[in-house]
Symmetry: C2
Subunit: 197 residues, 2 copies
DNA sequence: GTCTATAAAAGGATAGAC
DNA sequence: GTCTATCCTTTTATAGAC
């Protein structure tokens, strides 16, 4: 048994929305890519908005899952490794040419029509990631792997690092980019760890 | 004498393209915003692409001009002040709700149709900014205001800072954002200056 | 230069046969 | 579920009067 048509539609639409945006993508484009005719789409989705929103919804879920850290790993790893893992999870998600690209496009330039819906979803997602980040850092302070400083500025600082890498993925080819990630994280950790100034 | 219709069209279109993108903006939207009828636009521009490209072209010119540094200032200011001025010039450009926004949108998500044209323009612009940056830093090394290290990684590092702030302007309201800029630059300079590690 | 009228094409969406 | 045919609307673009 192979992949369902609904799933094929979502995958094709995801790619097109990511590359060309909501208005840049027509239902005809989607249908052609799947290999069916435009009206057949309506057997699977109410309309274009329904298709778009269902993709966005899955996207957010996938992102949250991607950056989550298993509790057993949370126990075993050092704070530095946890932070690096967390950053890598995000970065790997953005490396994806489809999901990562749509995530970026949607976050930075939400379609005006459902801006509030999108914003709400992102706030939830951000709350989720911030909770993980805070947990890692608080544990790091307890274990004295992170120097004794307030946590909020550290989180801010981490997000700044994250945002820079978020954009740089647009510009640099992969091996070069991976090195930037490495360097940036090293720099960040230097200022966070116990003994760092 | 007041502003010409052509100019009004370009200003209105600039705002709309920035906020809603190329495909999200119809010529009807533009005409309505200007207060004329759609066909009147064609007395000023060949077609939609012509209007869009002429706006992009001006945008790049304005950006280049914004980040340029007068030679007399180049002589007088310290390296630290020059770098800060240079960063502020870019950041101020992105603060603009219209030009800055269109710049970001175009750079990150160029319309597929003229992707190559756009990319070419950005490469020229980047060459321009990099030249300024290199000039500042080389002078800084000669004057021993910057520690004796290779310049390329320093430029990379500066661009990383720039990219992070580029994105963060989407998320933070102005007074908060200005503080982020301040902090991020301070952090950058610490690692660059003579005596910094 | 700006308008009305209109063409020509594309996009979203539905009806109904198979 | 998928197709053809069709509808309605929007969009880009042109023709021609004023």
């Amino acid at each position: 048994m192979s992949i369902s048509t609904s799933e094929q539609i979502k995958q094709s639409a995801l790619q097109l929305f990511a590359q060309k945006g909501y208005f840049g993508t027509s239902l005809n484009d989607v249908a052609t890519k799947v290999g069916i005719k435009k009206p057949s789409l309506y057997a699977h989705f109410k309309n274009k908005d329904d298709l778009y929103l269902s993709i966005l919804h899955e996207l957010m879920d996938t992102f949250k899952e991607s950056v989550s850290i298993d509790s057993s790993i949370m126990e075993q790893y050092s704070t530095k490794d946890l932070l690096y893992l967390f950053l890598k999870n995000m970065v790997d998600f953005w490396k994806d040419e489809t999901m990562g690209l749509l995530y970026k496009r949607t976050l930075l330039f939400p379609e005006e029509h459902f801006r509030s819906t999108i914003q709400e979803q992102f706030l939830q997602t951000e709350a989720h990631t911030t909770a993980i980040l805070r947990e890692i850092m608080e544990k790091g302070k307890r274990k004295q792997e992170i120097s004794n400083q307030p946590i909020e500025p550290l989180i801010d600082s981490f997000y700044c690092l994250v945002d820079g890498l978020f954009v740089q993925r647009f510009f640099y080819p992969l091996p070069q980019y991976d090195m930037k990630v490495e360097h940036a994280f090293t720099h960040f950790w230097k200022a966070a760890e116990t003994g760092g100034e």
